[in-house]
Symmetry: C5
Subunit: 374 residues, 5 copies
């Protein structure tokens, strides 16, 4: 059994408690302790501050009010922090609940003073598992707060561009930063899909050589992974579209133009996924055909050998019968009993007959095309 | 045959009578006697009263008119009660008919003075059957009447929160209570789907080890259960959406905001169901492949053994023939008849020849890959 | 071959003549002679009159003009009657053509002075065939004319309610009568679907015990019947919806409210059909799996028996060879030729060897799980 | 191999030249020389004139300008004629190009002074091939020009009704004539579909008796023919709908009412096609099952015979072994060597034992149900 | 294994870098050096100029400002050129990025001063690979800039028509040129689809003669190619539709009329693709059936031969048993032991019995229809 695939779908299990009051924060057991960084910037200035406590955060929030700020929270396992943010920025309880409950679909929720955006960040982690991480954003006029489920570093390129300071990222406001992060998250979809596509092509090559159970399972797994990516990609597309069409003033004109580009990317992602999904379906179908075809081959071998030798064995069996030429009691000759056995060339004639039968059958099978390699 | 599944789909059979006048109450034979409780509450006060007769109900309805009230009816098997409520609150006959006929799809019907809402509550009961219970609601400005098909206790968490008295549930009006009950009902969908999902994963694990008829049937059953949950979930989604978009004044602003959260949940439910439905399809396909593959294995064993021994048996048969070396009548030697038998090493040569044939075939099968474990 | 199903799809064949002038009446050869009844009623009065000629009809039409009237026509095989009605009530030729050509889909056609409504009435007739009968309605302000293809009595419950005289049916006008008839027709769908569903459940039970060709065909037939019911149900739903949304004054407010209830029923019908259609698909798939699985079992029996006995037979064949221990001509002993045969316990050793081989194979098959019941 | 089907899909191959200037006329090699007839008519008068040259056409066009006229062109293989019509009536080049390029989908193109309508006329020709002929129409206020790809006579019923002179066809204007021709073309769809349906039913009957390769291919072919009819029917439906909803004054009110009737017919056509397509799918599935089931039967015969006789043959082989009861050299008796052979009733016991084994197996197979007819 | 197909899908692999700043030009490694030609024309004049440097381009752009101009760029592998064009014509960065990143879907992006149009040009190149080349257009009032990924000559017919100077192409403005190029690109789809269709028909013919693995793979490949063409054709259709419905003044009235014709072509393309896709599905299904049917044939041969000879061989085996007629020790005759062997005609009777058994079985198989050619 061949083993090609290395990437697996990471499975998570949540145990929701029905009937809890809406807006209450339900943390997962293994939710990570938050790591907070506050970035303050405009075209000219850039500050980055690691935060170790809610008090430090309070201080930092009151500083640099004239700049654009980004509060980056990695890990959501601290109910106090979430409650602090809820109170500090007058955020709806339901938003905080959604940040904590990492099963949200990508969406845009518009509130009067802020926007709430949820993204699903898909990538392959170091254990080669497909991680499906929730990233939530709250967008205020000059402030973006982001919440990541894990400590992963996928968004570091945007941080580097922010540090670097060129282009729109420092000048086009918080909604542009939100766009840049969403665009980056969706770029990671390409990386993931291409990786799965590579595995698929390896499987396809192997399939032509030898269809086996393991290839089948691996194809099925990639299909399921593609389906689960698609299940994230479609609402991502809808979300981006909602952001473009929203009449909220929080999303600047430049950001809107760039979001259209991201929309194109979501369409490309969906096209790619459909492509690979079709490919998996086609591979599974081929596999089934190959198994049937192989069965045909096995049966042909059996049938050819049996058909040739069973009749011959019968003939041999006939001449192995013990019908007596002479009555043991009377000594009388029983001339009808197998006189062939006493013919001078009986053996040669029999062997010759057998050869003719075998050759006739070979011709028959050859004509039916059973002797060709299929 | 392995038996993993324990949860079954409960089947009900209704025998409708075509042509009965619309709006007439048709009770099911096994409809339960109603158990009524009246809750009266506002932010400060909370009263709960068990009701034993229509007269007691009449009295209770006239009390506490300044508070919000919830008349909870469990069991719908009393036509008098339904008629009393119809008259008392001037409710359309069709609404009462729908409450009694527990086959309604989730829906919102808007009437001038009240809203009629139907939910399907899905859960696993003590007999491990999936119960699909109808819960109907009539919403007036300060009054909610709920009708449950059975005595099940699934909504007790909301009653506890109402007793507890914190949060919106006591202050945000009857439409919030309606929201809270609907949200709870939908939370139970998650519980059910996760339970089925667990069974599915057990089946998947077993499948890799051994595909059998029973696993196939159980997968098919889960698929059908998922489809029947989906058939409830889609109209639930539409109903919640109708409630959000309705311009009825009966649904308060707070309730509307919270209903959006419930809408998110219905979308998550649908995603989950699709996920598991895809998984069942994939398992069924794999099962079919595994059965074919197993057939191939069986055939290989047969073909290898037959192909090797049938020719050898033929050879043995040949040398078991009784062609005579000496004519019994004349005593003349018939030297062409099987001289091999009288060769000093005839036996050894023959056995050696057989061994060579067997080895040649083994090499052939090994080259074809039939000797590998597939 | 087991025979469970009794209900069959009735097939009709129409031979349309292309190019006939539109609006011309083309009667079917076996169209039934009309049986006409005129009902005249209001809340207080009720008259019912059997009509035997167009002249009698003319007289009856001129009577009771102050009451609501319903002209019930069963059987449409009289072009003169149809032409009389066309002229008398100034009805469009196309309407009359549609009444005569019983292949119409359910629809609502709005004309200035009247509405034309077509329903498909599905039910199981006495020959246990699914009858798909066209019922057409022309609705005037105080007059309903109905045309039934056959003499079937499915709508008698409405006639009884009309006679009984309680409820809206006598007071809410002709459009309510139209509603009541449509509702009844759709109630009959439930009866039909439940009957098919019962047959399906019987088949399902049998399937688990024994998959055979006949069960497969019967499932396929139910699937096709379900599809053909669905093909009537969807346009019925659209028609009812058109009637609800129509701004024609001919449909009263009460009737509209009740039609919403009928709309619910069409949705329930469609849900039921989808449910059973999914079930048929699932049964067909299971059947295929069971056939494959059965093949595996058959092959296992063959393979086990062949694999055990073919090698043993070979050994027996070897010791049945006639290699001579003594040269017949010279009398010289050929000691290499099958000395086993002359060993004191050769036979016992051989039989023991065979037993060991057989046991080894049994262990091999037992380990592969081939000896278990699958 | 049985041969039932007679109707075949006619295949045409066009070799388009990419990059030719739009609006240029590209005639097919085998395009037919046009046969032109001009009909001039109103309620009272009717003239029909065969035309042999463009000059004659010019003369005829200038005559009878007060009447409604219909220029019927059969065969489009004359670029001069097409160019003459383009210039004479100031028709857009693209229209003329579409008339010549007979691959157009059914459509309505609205121009300022005229409408351009394309229909696909499907019918079985004398060679029993399904012909898919393009019929194009240009509608002016009092003039209809029709272009048929071939000389087929399918539209003669309308010409006869025009000659006959009764009904709307002479009085309701050119758009009514256009309607009548379109309606006739669609009536021919019914004829075609019913013919294919008849073949399908013959195949279905045969299938129950014997599933073979040829039935499979023929079913597949009907399925493909149904799909190709559907591909014409859907855009026909859209076209008719466009004509009904168009606000062009060229389509009269009467014509619009009658077009709604034609719209009903397109819906019926689509329903019929879907019905038959479902039937083909179901037949293909059944065929596959029958093939599998037949395989099971074949295997059962093989397995029963092999299982019974292989063990018996082994036993016979054992007693055919030549273990010696007496040492040929020493004459010593070897009493362990096959003493059964020298038992007085050894043969009878052995044969009895064989019989018991055979009967035991028969019982086993009978219990498994393998001896029943499936 | 037969090899019919020659056309293959060309696969490209892009390695995107997530997180790069949007609007940055990322050239592919093997992007071609641009070849630039500037065409300047109006109804009377026509100039064509090959450009070898950005400086030459600058000069050429400033010349002939009164004429319509077309800057044709083949090969996009020069970031400087792209940046020059961006600056020179004040084009949005995102447009330039899309021109360089050749994975765009067909689309229309409307900017204030210009339109950005992306087409996918599909054709078979000299290596018989299906090339999927991006062609991008920027449309200004009197200027069209086109960017082709490769040096392919597919659009030369339009250049020739432009040189030729007849028709709208020289007079109807830049948007007409844009139309003409898009129309040509879509005409190439027909050529490609017809080529694949030809291969498909060859495969279909072969399939009826002999189903093999290679035909299956080739059909699957054509199916995938059809799907990938469809994936380009649908957004092409949407793009053309967007261009028709756009209210931009950049697209002239004539161009709009002609674009409707192109829209028709996209619909025809989609119809063709669906047709061929259905055909591939049907071929794959038939192939599977044929494989099963072939298995049946193989099994029949095996079963017939085995069923006839195995019982006969058993009988021969019985009479090859060595039960002794005479006790070797006592010389006593054991008369029950196989007296048949000492019957005068035992051999003839046995052979006769065998013949009868064989004939009986042949009749059985003939009745079951196993001896017919299927
Ligand atoms: Mg991007
Ligand atoms: Mg989703
Ligand atoms: Mg989705
Ligand atoms: Mg882009
Ligand atoms: Mg795109
Ligand atoms: Mg499949
Ligand atoms: Mg909830
Ligand atoms: Mg539903
Ligand atoms: Mg549904
Ligand atoms: Mg939420
Ligand atoms: Mg959600
Ligand atoms: Mg899906
Ligand atoms: Mg219909
Ligand atoms: Mg009803
Ligand atoms: Mg329909
Ligand atoms: Mg349908
Ligand atoms: Mg109801
Ligand atoms: Mg309903
Ligand atoms: Mg469904
Ligand atoms: Mg299937
Ligand atoms: Mg018609
Ligand atoms: Mg089409
Ligand atoms: Mg289509
Ligand atoms: Mg009609
Ligand atoms: Mg219709
Ligand atoms: Mg074109
Ligand atoms: Mg696409
Ligand atoms: Mg697509
Ligand atoms: Mg055209
Ligand atoms: Mg077209
Ligand atoms: Mg299939």
């Amino acid at each position: 059994m061949s083993k090609i695939r290395r990437i697996r779908l990471k499975t998570k299990k949540y145990i929701p408690v029905p009937g809890t009051s809406p807006g209450s924060i339900q943390l997962y057991e293994d939710a990570l302790k938050p790591q907070i960084t506050v970035y303050s910037y405009n075209s000219d200035e850039f500050y980055s501050e690691k935060i170790n406590s809610i008090d430090e955060l309070e201080i930092q929030i009151e500083k640099h009010k004239e700049l654009h700020r980004w509060i980056e929270v990695k890990g959501i396992g601290d109910a106090d922090l979430l409650t602090y943010i809820e109170k500090k920025f007058s955020i709806n309880k339901l938003v905080i609940e959604d940040i904590a409950d990492c099963r949200q679909r990508p969406k845009l929720d518009e509130y009067e003073d802020y926007l709430f955006v949820v993204s699903r960040m898909l990538y392959v982690d170091e254990q080669l598992e497909i991680e499906n991480e929730q990233v939530s954003f709250i967008l205020f006029p000059k402030l973006l707060i982001s919440f990541q489920e894990n400590y992963s570093n996928n968004i570091s390129p945007v941080i580097n561009r922010l540090k670097g300071g060129k282009g729109n990222i420092r000048s086009a406001g918080s909604s542009y930063l939100l766009y840049a992060l969403n665009d980056l998250i969706l770029d990671n979809y390409f990386t993931l899909i291409y990786k799965l596509g590579d595995e698929l092509e390896t499987i396809e090559e192997l399939l032509y050589r030898r269809a086996d159970k393991s290839l089948m399972f691996q194809t099925q797994n990639i299909k399921r992974e593609m389906i689960s990516i698609r299940r994230a990609a479609w609402p991502e597309r809808d979300k981006i579209n909602d952001m473009i069409r929203s009449d909220s003033k929080l999303i600047g004109k430049t950001s809107r133009t760039y979001l259209k580009d991201t929309y194109d990317h979501t369409m490309q992602i969906i096209d790619l996924i459909e492509n690979y999904k079709d490919l998996t379906t086609s591979l599974i179908d081929m596999n089934l055909t190959l198994i049937s075809q192989r069965m045909n081959e096995i049966m042909k071998v059996l049938t050819i050998i049996s058909s040739i030798f069973i009749p011959l064995t019968f003939i041999a069996g006939v001449y192995g019968m013990n019908f007596a030429i002479e009555d043991p009691k009377t000594g009388k000759f029983l001339n009808n009993n197998m006189p062939e056995l006493y013919n001078e060339n009986g053996y040669l004639y029999t062997m010759g007959g057998m050869l003719i039968i075998a050759i006739a059958q070979m011709i028959y099978f050859w004509r039916k095309g059973w002797l060709n390699k299929s």
